[in-house]
Amino acid sequence: MTRTTPYLLASPAGLLVAGLLLGPLVLLVRVSLYEPADGRGFFTPGTWTLDNFVAVADPAGLRLLGFTAAFGAAVAAASVGVGYPLALFVRSLGPTAKRIAVAAVILPKLASALVVMFGLQQLLSAAGPVSRALVALGVVPEPVTLSRSVFAALLGEVYLVLPYAVLVLLIQLGRIDPAWEAAARGLGAGRWQAFRRVTLPLTVPGLVLAGQLGLMWGVGAFLGPMLLANPADQTLAVDVHRQAFDRQNWPRAAAGAVVLTLSAAGLGAAFAVAARRLGGGR
């Protein structure tokens, strides 16, 4: 290994990041600083303005930002809340059953996200099986549409991010020696105490990473809210799409995209810092 070898190893990824992320990002920032064209093209060349960012921060824009952040937090909480028990269950299985369970966790990733969303749309529609089951059980008097709701959008996004959360948690749980839990039991801790005092604290790094994944995924959520939520409850990503393609206002869309990128990165970092403070670095 010479001193340049590490850089050579990183160069393919570096080129990808430079070409496909940094380059477009620079363009994006530039576009966000143009004046809108009001129907005569996508933007007005040669102009400079900060008005697009002011527009993102108007009351409607702030509401949008708030909803986006809350949606991200909800995706993070739900994917960790559902993923952790699932990962604990998979860990408790024998070797063969574990392999099958891990495959089953990854399986949804083989289907296109669009297929998943349309499947959920059908499942949760007024004529769908969930609605009919609720009617049959007498929970609701008549068929209900569950598909056009924040809940449906959340469900869709959690469905997409859950496999990653479970894999991250399984890897972390795999680092926990079962002898540590046995030792806790032998010292007088019941199942719950052993979990709370040994297993849980030792899973914290995995929980932080899974939460961070869910948060950043949820803040950038597009398909779920777009296809499953009400037009009134939308995330920033959907709004960027609307501004760019429905209103043909590229500078406004670019400004939204810049804010989205920065807030996703900022929230992810803030989450990591907060988690380190809380967990004492472990």
Partner: protein
Amino acid sequence: MPNTADTSPTSGTGPSSAGVKDLPGCEVDGLTFGYGPTRAVRDVSFRVPEGRFLTLLGPSGCGKTTLLKLIGGYLTPAAGRVRLLGRDVTGWPPERRNAGTVFQSYALFPHLSARRNVSFGLEVRGMPYRTCLDRADALLDRAGLTPAERDRKPAALSGGQQQRVALARALVIKPDVLLLDEPFANLDRLLREQLRGAILQLQPEAGVTTVMVTHDPEEALASSDLIGVMHAGRLLQVGPPAEVYDRPRTPFVARALGDANLIDGAALNRTGTVMVRPERLVIGPDAIFCRWGWTASVRGRAYLGAVTRVELEHPGRPPLRAVVRGADLAAASRLDVGIPEAAVWTIPEAYPT
């Protein structure tokens, strides 16, 4: 389950009835783990009087660690009973048994300091946090850890310190029985010899009943009141070290505790296999006073420091291994060897070898 006749009169009364002199500290009765031909533990029974130290000796895979886990409650037996201080604890989960275990790799909690590792067992009993830490500190002080070392995580401690923390963690709960799973696997010789001393130093007033598992016969002989030899899931023999060493029931037990000459008994007018320990052979001029004796040629020698081990050979006589002291005997190419009658033990059972 077999053995439904529960003979334990003190069932449920707990350690308070420990005044009885001959109370069994740890008793195992017909213990079996697994099913069919793959059973890891087969019909094992023994009784360790309270405060005594039993070592289970055997090669890896003989079921000794499984047996220890059955006593600790980490595994559930297919048949048989476990009694600790007279209480039948079969089927109880580990947290109810009050058995302190030192695991093979110590299994110290990596996220807790040495002090919190030791206080853990007290904390889960609901003892005030301050009291837990004070008791942990007192015990770790006796174990020779400085206050700074007690604040360290296990990864920052030496192997010997980790062993002492593990021992303190197991003893701080005042266990009814102490279970040691190959506690020397990662330690050098000096630290091994200190273990028994460390246990005596750290344990509460009265001695704690101890069951240790090892594959090292020296360890077993040095620290035990009782030695059990295991083979393929069975306990072949259990008894005081001298008894098991001098009067093994099978050739396997004879070899398990140290070097042994196993000779066809016909050569000494006996039937079956007989055992003569190398150090019981008489080498040199005194050999003529023995019941059997001859002059053998030295085929091989290994210098072991205090003694030299020699391999002796003579046509028509059984080959023997012996130990000699002194440069003259160690260098000789021919040696007079004698077998005193008292050194010969006829092994009662032919298997396992």
